[in-house]
Amino acid sequence: MTANALSKTLLVIGGSSDIGRAIASRYAVAGWQVVLAVRDVAAGTRNASDIAARSGRAVPVHRLDILETDQFAAMLDGLPVLPDTVVCVVGDMGDQARSEADPLAAQRVLRANFEGPALFLGMIAERFAARGTGAIVGISSVAGDRGRASNYIYGAAKAGFTAFLSGLRNRLAGRGIRVVTVKPGFVRTRMTEGMALPGPLTADPSEVGRAVFRAAEQGRGEVIYVRGVWRPLMMVIRAVPERIFKRMQL
């Protein structure tokens, strides 16, 4: 824990999730002041008191629904300080079959994974740019690397988010602001509860926490797969010609 780190603040959007908790814990252990923004305040408070008990430092909780885009400015203005790093973990996998049949369900998935996160991080980026420092981390997904029959609504939203982060990074390069895209692959969380996950491709939330910290604070990578094995795997999947891919029914 350095004296420098003591004065730094992390804001986690989606702090009641397993991945959000793990990232927040990793930063808290390093001595950061952690702030959680959550839709479900009770669940967020449970994580906040856990992190506070472990780190010996209070963890404030703010209410934020990523679909209520008109509330973003007020929420940001209500923070006592502009954070040094913002991590956006929110996401909603939805149900592909339901999203195909019900435009409202599809819209929810698109907004929760793309519109909301992009707009929020865009506002953060403006403030960071004005200040001249900051790190922005977006948790995207390997599902955005190529559309698949089984989850392309979610995948399309994540692809949009990945492209947004890429553009933001491009725009802010050389202006003191770091933009990191994280593609966790499979993670053992409540979102994947009950699914049969392939062991070598599946990370624990704590691995995501460590990977984010390494990339954002120690400068190790800008577009990262939490488990390295995903990088060659997705390279191959992206390279499969469309006429073959469409017959694979992944």
């Binding site: 449970r46 008191s49 856990d50 010996g56």
Partner: protein
């Protein structure tokens, strides 16, 4: 359905898997999604009970998602935690702040809820009692869907039945207890050599003042050497003790998983020859180091086997049983000699054999009683199971009992003879509507 087994990997049973993610969900699990009552539930922690205690008769509630520390007062050492928190996790947070759990079992990969349900004992039971003795309050989801907080002064009957109650009075959701202050993460250890059983028991008795005491026993030694042991006495080391060891880290980090058993060992690997040779070497080495105090990091003192990942696979694919009995002091010497004689004569190699002194316990179904406990690990086979039935008779005749958290095979009669508090627990189970709702493979097997 999911196949469950305990740490001994015997027996194996199918049970439905339920994973609550927040404390508020637990009480509602007594009914299914359509509001129909479920039958045969039991809570499961980290799966370190050896036998069938944490396999639900029809559904198993895995509590690992409830792993939050609710509060930790660094001034007083008082903590409130969710039941699914791992002991390893708690130690990792508490130790650098100068606190340690008042009682720990032989592995740190257990949950706090499991420690309460089994009323686990440590190497300090003779002085500190079981883990349950330190619980100040606990929150329980009762079979009628109510959440109740109980403690020594609050619903004491329910509390007493829940300490060591093997999850049969409700699902433990949260607990509060107070840690003990320590100055370093080291244990100052002294070894006493006991060339036979009588001297091993005497050494444990003489060590009543030691904070921690435990004996490793060579259960393959025979004749005059029957019961020869190394008795390890331990005290929390002070910073002054550390000066002897230059550069010692005051809070040494856990050394976990230096080596993991990658696959099931052939069951002949642990045979009389290999274990006998190991035991003889181990005894000689220990005897050489006897007398002078040495510093041992906390994890290697309390949790020596945690350094070997998945060590349960050493016993082969058929699994193993741990036989842990406690014998009242008066009968201990004679019955232990009889047990060791039979195990040694049968030639079954028990890699792990541990002797400890225990004090009285409080829970209706708590394992400890004033006396001596012996634990043996034995690979499962028809011959071993037959031998253990013989040992049960010796234990019952001596007025002893078997540890339910380790049990995979005792008979209802052995249980009835060993646990005088059983009927009080049964009455309480009736009062709270537990029969039929809360049951494990163990409770059904034993008729609890």
């Amino acid at each position: 359905m999911t196949e469950f087994h305990g740490w001994g990997r015997y027996p194996r049973h199918d049970s439905a898997l339920i994973s609550p993610l927040a404390p508020g969900e637990v009480a509602s699990l007594y009914d299914d999604a359509d509001g129909r009552p479920r039958a045969g539930l039991i809570a499961r922690g980290a799966g370190r009970a050896y036998g069938d205690a944490a396999i639900g008769d029809s559904a198993t509630v895995v509590m690992r998602g409830l792993d939050r520390i609710r509060s930790f007062d660094r001034q007083t050492g008082r903590v409130t935690v969710e039941a699914g928190l791992l002991l390893a996790d708690l130690i990792g947070v508490a130790m650098p702040a100068g606190w340690f759990p008042p009682v720990v079992p032989g592995t740190r990969f257990v949950t706090i809820g499991g420690m309460i349900a089994a009323d686990v004992h440590g190497k300090n039971h003779h002085r500190a009692g079981g883990f349950g003795d330190h619980v100040e309050t606990l929150t329980l989801a009762l079979p009628d869907g109510q959440m109740v907080t109980c403690g020594p002064d609050h619903h004491p009957d329910l509390f007493r039945a829940t300490i060591g109650g093997m999850g049969l009075t409700g699902m433990i959701v949260e607990a509060s207890f107070t840690l003990v202050p320590i100055q370093t993460g080291w244990i100052s250890q002294r070894t006493v050599v006991a060339p036979d059983l009588d001297r091993a028991l005497a050494a444990l008795r003489d060590a009543a003042e030691a904070t921690y005491s435990v004996a490793w026993i060579d259960c393959l030694a025979r004749g005059a050497a029957l019961g020869r042991s190394l008795v390890y006495l331990g005290e929390h080391a002070t910073p002054a003790d550390l000066t002897a060891r230059a550069g010692a880290d005051r809070w040494p980090p856990a050394v976990g998983g230096r080596f993991t058993v990658p696959l099931d060992a052939p069951s002949m690997m642990l045979n009389r020859l290999s274990v006998g040779a190991f035991n003889a070497l181990y005894y000689k080495r220990g005897a050489r180091a006897a007398g002078q105090a040495m510093l041992v990091p906390w994890d290697r003192y309390f949790f020596p086997l945690d350094g070997i990942g998945d060590w349960n696979r050493l016993y082969g694919a058929r699994g193993f049983v741990q036989y842990q009995c406690v014998l009242p002091m008066t009968a201990a010497a004679g019955t232990l000699a009889d047990i060791l004689e039979r195990v040694s004569r049968a030639g079954h190699a028990s890699f792990l054999a541990v002797l400890k002194q225990l004090g009285p316990a409080h829970g209706d179904l708590s394992f400890p009683m004033e006396g001596v406990t012996l634990a043996l690990d034995l690979p499962v086979s028809a011959r071993v199971l037959a031998l253990l039935n013989d040992l049960d008779r010796l234990v019952v005749a001596a007025g002893g009992r078997l540890y339910l958290a380790k049990d995979a095979r005792q008979s209802p009669a052995t249980f009835e003879a060993g646990y005088p508090g059983r009927d009080r627990l049964r009455r309480l189970r009736h009062q709270i509507g537990a029969p039929g709702r809360l049951s494990s493979k163990l409770s059904t097997r034993l008729g609890i």
